[in-house]
Symmetry: C2
Subunit: 184 residues, 2 copies
């Protein structure tokens, strides 16, 4: 991975996440990164390939951030607490690793690539699956409890993005999970 390729991927991620995929042209990515067009097409076969690289970069960063946020939790309950504290911080754009909050990059991208057969959509699906597995490693609970946590997490992300009220949404999710604890 050359420096230019990294720079292109980084710039693409920043612009795609900030303003969407179809709204960003190749030329804008090139102008901002200062790389030539031929160089981009030397490293990537198409805009979609560049997008896949950007998704991969974001995915690695997000999973890394998630692990860091949860790793000190010793009990499942503490992990839930830490998870939604971290999410709340992300929603308020206070997590340096994740940048300015603009919703979940993978949900946003799914909205633009609806075709379930497309590699881009499938990459978004895979991200959610790995996020679920990562959280599951810290929660030490059954599948149903894990599904509940993930359902509330997605709800919190979308609510924070569209309606605002990030802190309240996270606090509410924690409260729901607390009340639900030990239930069937």
């Amino acid at each position: 991975m050359t420096a230019k390729k990294q720079l292109l991927t980084e710039t693409a991620l920043q612009l795609f996440y900030a303003r969407g995929i179809h709204a960003i042209g190749i030329n804008e990515i090139l102008a901002q990164s200062g790389v030539a067009k031929k160089t981009l097409y030397h490293h990537f076969a198409s805009k979609d390939e560049l997008l896949l690289a950007a998704l991969q970069l974001r995915h690695e960063r997000f999973i890394s951030w998630l692990n860091e946020s949860l790793q000190q939790a010793t009990t499942g309950d503490a992990a839930v607490e830490k998870l939604f504290m971290a999410l709340s911080s992300w929603f308020n754009s206070e997590e340096e690793k994740l940048g300015y909050f603009r919703g979940c990059f993978f949900i946003n991208t799914s909205a633009e690539f609806s075709d379930a057969e497309s590699a881009v959509f499938q990459r978004c699906q895979l991200h959610k699956q790995v996020v679920r597995e990562t959280i599951g490693r810290y929660l030490q609970c059954d599948e149903q409890r894990l599904n509940k946590v993930c359902l509330l997490m997605e709800g919190a992300i979308v609510t924070a993005q569209v309606s605002g009220g990030a802190d309240a949404a996270c606090a509410l999710a924690v409260k729901i999970l607390s009340n639900d604890k030990g239930q069937g």
Copy 2:
């Protein structure tokens, strides 16, 4: 509202919802509807204005569908049950009024119009607010309970769109709300 204007709005909604805003060009809407370009710009000042009309049409249909789905519920609990039954049916594309399920049109559109100042984004915000108020009218509960229901609804919509498992997500949401009932 002339017939052509209605046809344009209808066609725009169909294409925008199916494939996203920036992925659909004006020309495709014109080709599919059989209307001339000048006619479009006679009725709408810009593509954004057409989009706003499409959002309005979808909003009216969605709220109407929501009222129909909930109107026979006599208790708050029954309303919750009915709500998630209806959502499940929507996710499975079995609600004729809402068409083939491709997530929430307003969440999807928000993903493409991040600028909080834009009229489009604000229209999406307003939709979520009215949906919340509409549900609140049937639930007869405090604000916190209503927020919980909405949080889980958003989670279910996104989960159904990206990860699949629509029925399970709705069933889980109902179960959570049942366990949570009467809690602080």
